[in-house]
Subunit: 284 residues, 2 copies
């Protein structure tokens, strides 16, 4: 398996033209919807196993962990990935953090402050549903900061992620690449389904009007912050079954490469077994 | 369904004699192992739905949340409950915290400090795998604090949990009640399975020798801290299939009673639908 999907979905070299990537495409998919879903289920078992090993390794003193950063326009499926891909792993080994509009307290700190506080501990798979990238995406499109500040943030992000990597965090950054047509269908579906209506926000429609600006902001952010140690992947996201398979597969390739190892016991198995078998009877 | 299992498993009135509760018993189980597992799967779907509603309610400004406190001897299945019961809910809506041996930083603060920091946010189901109760359990058995301090802690816990309830946290406390014979089998199984060996700690056998003291410490803790607003349940835990069903069911009864409600939209559905349909074309 090595890193074939990671190679296929790795963001292209600058200048990045997102419109050249078809959101309905399904690179390296194992087959049609049905077959791909089946493959996703198989991968999920494998992924859960590897994640448990990583967790075990963490209890043995290793500081290695994984951070999956999910970005994408509204309805691109960040929540769906958390539910279907991350949900297949053990809750103990997973830490999901969402980043919405900054709180007044968060605004008093650097934009990286809230992100640092949410980093996964050793042995964990952390997931950021939105992230520090919001500050160079909506931050840029909505002019929440000057162009100079935005420029500085790109450099701060690269430095920050370099520190993470040095601190044994494997960073996987995913842009869920959605088409505006598909977003429209999903927003209409949210409006029509009373059980999903709470996810809808009229402001989502205002943001849609800025679609080209957002695409540009994404392209620039990816160009400035894609590095070999903290790479960006663009996952076509119009087809949910492909999106789930692809993100799961990116994680699987990453964890397979990490080869997490169960810690070696510092005691003798036979000796401990004898202790248990020969102990005095215990009054329940 | 109302609160039948909660009534059946609610800790008896003082003086509590844990040895009078059979760890192999299966109160109100819907049938044998096979049928109970099937019921657990059905409950899981229902539970996931209610948890999503609670989460949605939280996005609408409600501060309600649930805190499940799991206590029990080693191998009693706290991890199993997290995997099988909590794992069925959406990772977004769940926050799992484990409390091991306190770190030097934690020791510099009150025993409730680390627990307060891990409380679930609005709309979430928080799970404590071990908790502030360790400080009156191992704390008492291993004499890590004087009897006076332990006595004070019971009162502090009651006060703390009363504050939680006032702050819209629904507290569900579960003691997974295991027999020493079953624990022995599970420890032996851990030793024999190389993929689970990392979970074994020779100190677990030392703690076993203090089984009666732990039972007494549990009984006293339950007597002092069981309240109508933060009740204790004793779940017989020798049978994993019963344990999973019972904890899921306790959560289900709790969430059913809460009746979480989807937030009412502050906007008009038809108007938003029209806006979407009539918008200017967007250049992808």
């Amino acid at each position: 398996m090595p890193d074939s999907l990671r190679r296929a979905l790795r963001v292209p070299a600058a200048p990045i033209e997102l419109r050249e990537i078809d959101p309905r495409s399904t690179p390296l998919a194992p087959g049609d919807k049905e077959r791909t879903r089946e493959a996703t289920r198989l991968d999920a078992t494998h992924l859960a196993e590897l994640q448990q090993r990583l967790y075990a390794e963490g209890t043995g003193g290793s500081r290695r962990r994984v951070l999956l950063v999910l970005q994408g326009m509204d309805t691109s499926g960040k929540g769906g990935v958390v539910e279907h891909v991350v949900g297949a792993m053990e809750p103990h080994g997973v830490a999901v953090a969402s980043f919405g509009k900054p709180t007044p307290e968060e605004l008093r700190h650097s934009f990286l402050w809230r992100v640092r506080r949410a980093l996964p501990g050793p042995g964990k798979v952390g997931v950021f549903d939105r992230s520090h990238y919001e500050d160079v995406l909506i931050g840029r499109v909505r002019e929440l900061a000057t162009p100079e500040v935005i420029e500085r943030r790109y450099r701060e992000i690269v430095r920050f992620e370099r520190q993470l990597v040095a601190d044994d965090v494997t960073v996987v950054k995913v842009l869920l690449h959605l088409s505006p047509w598909e977003q429209k269908q999903r927003l209409l579906a949210r409006l029509d389904d009373s059980s999903k209506r709470w996810k809808f926000d009229p402001a989502d429609i205002d943001e849609r009007a800025l679609w080209p600006q957002y695409q540009q902001a994404h392209a620039t952010a990816l160009e400035r912050t894609d590095t070999d140690t903290a790479p960006w992947y663009v996952v076509p996201a119009d087809r949910k079954w492909y999106r789930n398979w692809a993100v799961g597969r990116l994680l699987l390739e990453t964890l397979t490469e990490l080869q997490p190892r169960l810690p070696e016991p510092a005691w003798d198995v036979d000796e401990q077994r004898d202790r248990l078998i020969e102990e005095h009877p215990i009054a329940g």
